[in-house]
């Protein structure tokens, strides 16, 4: 499609025929960036669901926490009273710090909220309600601690705009899209090839038999939450870099949408989370581009409903058996 646009824009009358195409491709690039955020969040939903059959409704708020952590960490690194690092160095250090700290938050949540319930063997419904409440606690805890004033992430990156045959691509967009791709492939590798990934898949199938292999179930579950939350933290940071205004509720709506994306893709399947995220972003952005913006969510969700109506278990979903 890109090469096609090159052909279109080279001939002598670019204004007449090239513009709609360019506009379309421009929107595609935006959709890829937006979809990267959805995909990064949806991967966490799908991982935890795939392994534990638990919908971790606090996950969207983990994304928000990730954005805030990146704000605090980078502000600290840049502050003149602190280490006063150069921006490149601050960026390079903020990424791992955000990922590690956010996964710490996710693991803490598992430890203090979900694990005790799991130990008692209660029905999953209660764990899901607990997750919802944890999300609300994170949102409102943030509001109470930091107040309603919105924070802005410091500039960590010089913005460059590349013009590729009339299409504007910023370096940040490229970074976001590449990160999402990299994360996907890394995760896919971990789940399909590594031993801990094998154990994650095994838990998804039969939690009962895992300890009989000498494998500590809790460790596998903690690892799952670490992965999911770390990825959400990375997503939160990239989101904050792209739209540098943070507020405590930023994870709620985005989180819900990412959850829907995961379901449409086939929850429990990491390819599904990825494809679902991009699909949702694509639909949203195309609707917003060509229809009044108030139609966006109505149309986007109607289309997703249609997909689920045709395939109730999502695009990659198989009935129950092959999760993750």
């Amino acid at each position: 499609m890109l090469s096609l646009s090159g052909l279109w824009s080279l001939p002598c009358n670019p204004t007449a025929s090239a513009q709609p195409m360019e506009q379309f491709i421009q929107q595609c690039v935006n959709a890829l960036q937006w979809g990267s955020f959805y995909a990064l969040i949806a991967l966490g939903y799908t991982l935890v669901y795939g392994v534990l059959r638990l919908i971790n409704f606090a996950h969207g708020d983990i994304f928000m926490v990730g954005a805030y952590i990146s704000f605090f960490v980078s502000t600290f690194f840049l502050s003149s009273s602190g280490p006063a690092l150069s921006r490149d160095l601050a960026l390079a250090l903020t990424i791992p710090c955000t990922v590690v700290l956010t996964s710490g938050v996710g693991v803490t949540l598992e430890r203090i909220a979900y694990r005790p319930l799991r130990r008692k063997g209660v029905h999953r419904l209660y764990v899901v309600i607990t997750a919802l409440m944890c999300g609300l606690v994170l949102e409102n805890g943030n509001l109470a601690l930091l107040g309603a004033s919105r924070k802005a992430l410091p500039d960590l990156l010089d913005k460059h705009i590349y013009m590729i045959s009339g299409i504007a691509v910023t370096n940040l967009k490229l970074i976001v899209i590449c990160t999402a791709l990299l994360v996907f492939f890394a995760l896919h590798f971990i789940v399909t090839r590594s031993r801990i990934g094998m154990a994650m898949r095994a838990v998804a199938w039969d939690e009962f038999a895992l300890p009989l292999m000498g494998i500590p179930l809790d460790r596998v579950i903690v690892f799952t939450f670490m992965l999911g939350s770390g990825i959400a933290g990375l997503g939160g940071m990239l989101f904050a870099m792209s739209y540098p205004v943070l507020d405590p509720y930023m994870g709620a709506m985005t989180g819900w949408k990412a959850f829907i994306a995961a379901v449409v893709g086939g929850i429990g399947d990491i390819r599904g989370a990825f494809v679902g995220g991009f699909l949702l972003a694509f639909v949203e952005i195309m609707v917003a581009a060509f229809l009044p913006s108030t139609f966006r969510d109505l149309f986007a969700f109607s289309i997703l409903l249609l997909i689920l109506w045709k395939r109730p278990t999502g695009i990659f979903g198989m009935p129950m058996s092959t999760k993750i």
Partner: protein, 254 residues
């Protein structure tokens, strides 16, 4: 019955596994009402009894598996190599005490290949010697070698049972508890399975086996215990138990 229980408790000093007056249950319902038995190093011991007698509950309690699938111990003691297992987590029973269970209904990881199932079972081991174990297992169950790359839920019932046993061997445990290993096997395969177990036992493996086909189990076993609604009602060597008419009638179908 009381006398047999007391006889047992005298031998418990040296036993590999000893269970003393174990009470265990699911929630408020008690399933095991104070059972005592022991297993010596290198033995094949069988637990027999009718449906719901508490055989599976006993094995799951030994493995320290968590509720709700497994019973909670309310009183009594489980020892392995002289140490109490009561506060040991199930993965550590495998890792430290080298005891594992082939559970009722196999519980293989159907979404993994045969090979992946076996590799996963080697979790607590170093890489070097798993290769040798694999060869050993494929020697015992050649069908598994043929299907190594196949998703394990596509195996036949009998092949899945072989995988479940193979997987337990892969953990390199020295004690294996088997819950109805012949379930769903054709008679020929059933005898094969028990012959294989006997061979493994000859090479040093300690085996505790629960079996519906009590006659077969008693033939192979060194000793047996008869469970009835959560209590041990008889014990003895395989031949002894088979000679007792009341046991034959009640549990072995005459």
């Amino acid at each position: 019955m009381d006398t047999t229980v007391r006889d047992l408790s005298q031998k418990q000093g040296s036993a590999l596994i000893s269970v003393e007056n174990l009470h265990a249950g699911y929630g408020k319902i008690e399933a095991l009402h104070g059972i005592s038995f022991h297993v010596e190093q290198g033995e094949i011991v069988t637990l027999i009894g009718s449906n719901g007698a508490g055989k599976s509950s006993t094995l799951k309690a030994l493995m320290r598996l968590a509720p709700p699938e497994s019973p909670t111990v309310t009183s009594g003691e489980i020892r392995c190599k002289g140490q109490s297992l009561l506060n040991v987590e199930p993965h550590n029973v495998v890792d430290r005490f080298k005891m594992t269970l082939v559970p009722e209904g196999r519980h293989i990881f159907g979404n993994l290949t045969v090979m992946e199932n076996l590799h996963l079972a080697a979790w607590t081991r170093k890489n070097e010697d798993t290769r040798k174990s694999l060869d050993h297992i494929f020697g015992l169950f050649p069908r598994l070698a043929e299907r190594a790359r196949q998703r394990s839920d596509t195996l036949s019932g009998g092949e899945q049972q072989m995988l479940a046993v193979g997987r337990a061997l892969m953990t390199n445990c020295s004690v294996i508890l088997l819950d109805e290993p012949s379930m769903g096997l054709a008679p020929v395969l059933m005898y094969d399975m028990f012959r294989t177990l006997k061979r493994l036992n000859d090479s040093g493996l300690t085996i505790v086996v629960v079996e519906q086909n009590a006659r077969l189990a008693l033939e192979v076993a060194d000793r047996g215990y008869v469970l009835d609604t959560g209590e041990i009602v008889a014990e003895g060597s395989g031949e002894e138990l088979m000679r007792r008419p009341e046991i034959m009638e009640a549990y072995l179908g005459g």
